[in-house]
Symmetry: C2
Subunit: 459 residues, 2 copies
C-alpha cells in the first residue's frame, strides 16, 4: 500500500476538441460532438485508466451565435457549437461504465433549483453514487437571449443567485432522512412523517417549500464542483465546493491559488482534504521533447487567424480586435462583465511573455486559458508530480485538443508513468466518486440536528 | 403480412403502483420507486412483448405535501411520493434496451423551453430515435410552492403558456437543417451558415433567440404526447400531439372523444393517422372471470377509507369530503381550477352507477380515472379489439395497480392473445418510435421553405 499523496484525475471531454482548430487534425474525429458512442468511448478509456471522473462542461446556447446572427461568417469556423445535453449524457454513461465518476455542468443562471436537485440526485441513484454537479454561473452572452433576457445578468447578481441556488439544492438533497420510506405493507404506512422535511426556503431569488420527491442519494449529496476564479467565485468555492476546476499555467500562481482556496476553506471550518483543486491540463505528447514541440506547431498551423482572434473576443470587453495589427501588442482592453478573471489572465500572459496579438490569440485558442503541456510522457509525469508535491494542485483535469487520440495517448503513456511513481491508483478502491476523491458523505442536516438535540438532553 | 388495423401499446410505469394501496399486495415490490433496476426490468419486459413505448408520468413535488405540512398524518400512507427523475431515467434506459420507445412527462409550467428542447433531442440522439415528450401543464397545487409561487397558475394561463412552449420547442428542434455541420477539415469551415437558423421567437410568455446547440434528432422531432381532456387541452392536442393519452371508461364516450379529437385534428389539416389515441387501461387478470373479480376485491380491501377519500380531494374543489357519510352519495362539488375534466368524469361515474362516497372513492383510487379491466386474458383481448375496431382507441396505455407481476402477466397472457388476433406485432418492423407508431418524420420548416421557394421560382 502506497502512502504517497495521491493524484486525482478528471477527463474533461470538450467536444469535438478544446483547441479551436483541433478538429482539423488528421487524427481528429469531429463527429464525436453529436455521437453518443464517442462520449461512451472516451469515458470507457478514462475508466480503464482509473480516472476519478469524466467531466462535461456546458453552454446553454451556441457560442458565437450573436456574431453569427450579425453576419460574421468566420463564426462558421467555430467547432464547439453543438453537443449532447450533459445530464442526459451522464445518465446514459452510467449504464456503460461501473466505477468512474460522472460530472456535468449545469448553470444556476437559467435553471430552477428544484429541477437541478432532482436530476443530479437521480443520476446519483442510477449510477450507484457516481454523480457530480459542476455549479456555474453562465458567462456567455449568447446564452441570455435563449432565456428571455436581452442582456446578461451582472456578475455580482449571478454569484448571489448561485450561492442561494446551492443552499436550496443541498437543502432539498436532505429532504429525506435514511429510513424515511417505511413501505410497511402491514400497517399501510408508506413514509415516516418525522423523517420527511420541508425546506421552507424563502430568499431573494428563490422560494422553495420542498420536500424533494426523491430519497437521499448514495453519496448523500452528489459531488459539487466549481470553477470560479474571481473573488466572489473563490469565496463560494471555498465555502461549498468539493472540487475546484481552475485554469493555472504557472506553478507559483497555482500554489498561491491553492493556498488561498484552502485558507478560505479553513475560515468556513473545512479541512484541506475537504476540497480538491484540479487545474486543467492540455497534453501535447511526443516521443521526444522535439517531436512534441513539432506536434504543437503543426496543430497551431491549423488555426486561421480570424478564429484565433475570435477566441479573445469573449474577454475583449467589446473591443474589436480585428482592427489592430496582428504582429503588434495586445491593446488595452475595456473591463469585461462576462469573465473578469479570464481577461486578467490573458492580459498578464501577453505582457509577461512579450507576445504579439497573433501569438496571444493562438495561445488562448489553443488552451482556453489552461496549461498546454508540450513534452514526453516522462516530462508530463514529472511536472504533475511536482505540482502535486509542492501543493500547486491535488490533481488535474485533462482536456485535449482533439479526440480521441490525444486522450488515449495520455491514458496509455502518461498514466502508467504516474502509477510507477506511486502517485496514482492502479485499481479503484471504492465504488463512489466520493470514495475515489477521498471525500466524506455529508451527514443529513436533520439527522444531525436530531442527534445534537438528543446529546443536549442527555447532558 | 397482416393488413388488420394495428393496436399501439404503451407501458405506463406508475411507481410503485397506480392503485393507491397496490403496493400493499403480497406480490408488490414497492422499493421499485427508487430502484433503477426496477425501471429497467419493467421496460425490458415491455420490449420483449414488443410494446411501442414505455411511459413515465411526472410530478415536480410530493403529491399531498401541503396536507402533510398541515399535519394530516394519513398522508403518510401515500405511496406515489418519490421516483427517479424521468428524463435522466429515459437516457439510462436507452442503454439497456434497443427498440422500445421512451416517453416521459415534462411540465411546461415550471421549465424553460430551451432546456426541454435540448434534453429530449439529446435523448432522441442517444436512443437512436426513440424519445417522446409528454407535454403537460402542472395541475398539482403542491408543485407550485417548489417554484416560487404561492398559488397555482390559472387553468387558462397554463394552457396558453403550454401552447407557446410547444411552438418554441418544435421551432428549436428545427434549428439545424440536415447537412448543417460540414466539419470540412480542408477549408476549416465547421458549419454551413445557411443551414443554421435563429428562431427569434418573441411571445407573451417566452423570448427565445436560438439556435438550439444540438443538431436535429433522428426522429426529426421527438414524438409529442399530450393528455389534456378539457376544451383547451383537446384543442392543443388536436393541433400538436402525435399521441393522446386519455382516461376513458366507457366505449361510447371513448368513441365520442376519439371522433372529436380526429375531427379537430382535421380542422388543422391533419389526417386521422397523424394522431394516435391511447386510453389508459388497468388490467386485473384472473384465469376465470370469477377469479379476476376476487383479485379485484382483494386489492380493494387493502385500501384504507382515508386513503380512498384523499384520492378525491384533488378534484373536490376544496370541499372536505371527510365530513360526509361514507355510505351516502357523493356531495355537490364546487368548481375545480386544477383538473376540470377529471372532476366532471368522477361526478358522472358516481351519479350513473349510483355509487356511495366510499365506492366512488375506492373506484377513483383504484384507477385514477382509467378503465379498470377485470377479467381473463381472452376477455381483455376481446375488449381491446372491440375498442380498436369501433374507433374508440388506436391503442392502450397499460398502467398497473402494482409492479412487476400484473405487468408481467399482461405481457405474457394478454399480448399473445392480441398477436393471435393479428392486431399486434410479433416483431418490431422499424427502429424508431415514429416507426412503431406509423408516424411521419416532420420535414424541417426551413428545408420546406427553401423547397417551396425553389418551386415558385421554377414555375
Amino acid at each position: 500500500m502506497t502512502t504517497s499523496k495521491q493524484l486525482r484525475l478528471g477527463g474533461f471531454f470538450s467536444v469535438p476538441g478544446n483547441h479551436l482548430a483541433g478538429w482539423r487534425h488528421p487524427d481528429a474525429v469531429p463527429t464525436y460532438d453529436m455521437d453518443f458512442q464517442g462520449y461512451a468511448h472516451i469515458t470507457q478509456v478514462a475508466e480503464a485508466a482509473k480516472f476519478d471522473t469524466i467531466f462535461f462542461q456546458d453552454t446553454v446556447g451556441v457560442a458565437g451565435s450573436r456574431a453569427l446572427a450579425r453576419g460574421e461568417r468566420t463564426r462558421a469556423k467555430l467547432s464547439r457549437t453543438v453537443k449532447l445535453e450533459p445530464t442526459a449524457t451522464l445518465a446514459a454513461l452510467a449504464m456503460v461504465t461501473s466505477h468512474i465518476g460522472l460530472v456535468a455542468t449545469a448553470t444556476t443562471t437559467y435553471n430552477e433549483p428544484y429541477n437541478i436537485a432532482r436530476r443530479f440526485a437521480s443520476i446519483d441513484h442510477i449510477s450507484g453514487g457516481r454523480a457530480g454537479w459542476n455549479l456555474v454561473t453562465s458567462q456567455i452572452e449568447d446564452e441570455s437571449e435563449n432565456f428571455g433576457f436581452d442582456e446578461h445578468l451582472a456578475h455580482a447578481d449571478r454569484y448571489e443567485r448561485a450561492a442561494e441556488f446551492y443552499e436550496v439544492v443541498t437543502g432539498l438533497w436532505d429532504s429525506w432522512e435514511d429510513g424515511g420510506l417505511l413501505r410497511d405493507k402491514k400497517t399501510g404506512v408508506y413514509m415516516d412523517r418525522d423523517k420527511v422535511h420541508f425546506l421552507d426556503h424563502v430568499g431573494k431569488h428563490f422560494k422553495v417549500k420542498g420536500p424533494l420527491n426523491i430519497t437521499r442519494s448514495p453519496q448523500g449529496w452528489p459531488v459539487v464542483a466549481q470553477a470560479g476564479s474571481s473573488e466572489a467565485g473563490r469565496d463560494l468555492a471555498a465555502r461549498t465546493a468539493d472540487v475546484v476546476f481552475t485554469a493555472q499555467t504557472k506553478i507559483d500562481e497555482a500554489k498561491a491559488f491553492y493556498a488561498d482556496i484552502k485558507s478560505r476553506a479553513a475560515r468556513y471550518g473545512r479541512g484541506p482534504e475537504d476540497i480538491k483543486i484540479m487545474p486543467g491540463l492540455t497534453p501535447v505528447l511526443g516521443r521526444t521533447m522535439e517531436e512534441a514541440r513539432e506536434n504543437y506547431e503543426y496543430l497551431q498551423s491549423l488555426m486561421p487567424d480570424d478564429v484565433a482572434l475570435q477566441s479573445l473576443s469573449h474577454i475583449s470587453g467589446g473591443l474589436d480586435l480585428s482592427k489592430f495589427p496582428l504582429d503588434g501588442p495586445l491593446p488595452e482592453l475595456p473591463p469585461s462583465n462576462a469573465a473578469k478573471a479570464r481577461q486578467a489572465l490573458v492580459v498578464r500572459t501577453a505582457r509577461e511573455n512579450n507576445m504579439t496579438l497573433r501569438q496571444i490569440a493562438r495561445h488562448t485558442a489553443a488552451g482556453t486559458g489552461h496549461r498546454v503541456m508540450v513534452g514526453t510522457a516522462e516530462y508530463m509525469a514529472d511536472e504533475m508530480e511536482k505540482w502535486l508535491k509542492e501543493e500547486a494542485a491535488d490533481g488535474f483535469n485533462v482536456v485535449c485538443n482533439h479526440y480521441p487520440k490525444p486522450f488515449e495517448d495520455f491514458c496509455r503513456q502518461v498514466v502508467p508513468e504516474l502509477q510507477r511513481r506511486g502517485i496514482f491508483r492502479t485499481e479503484y478502491q471504492g465504488t463512489t466518486l466520493r470514495d475515489h476523491l477521498g471525500l466524506r458523505v455529508p451527514e443529513n442536516r436533520y439527522t444531525r440536528q436530531a442527534r445534537e438535540a438528543l446529546a443536549r438532553e442527555a447532558s
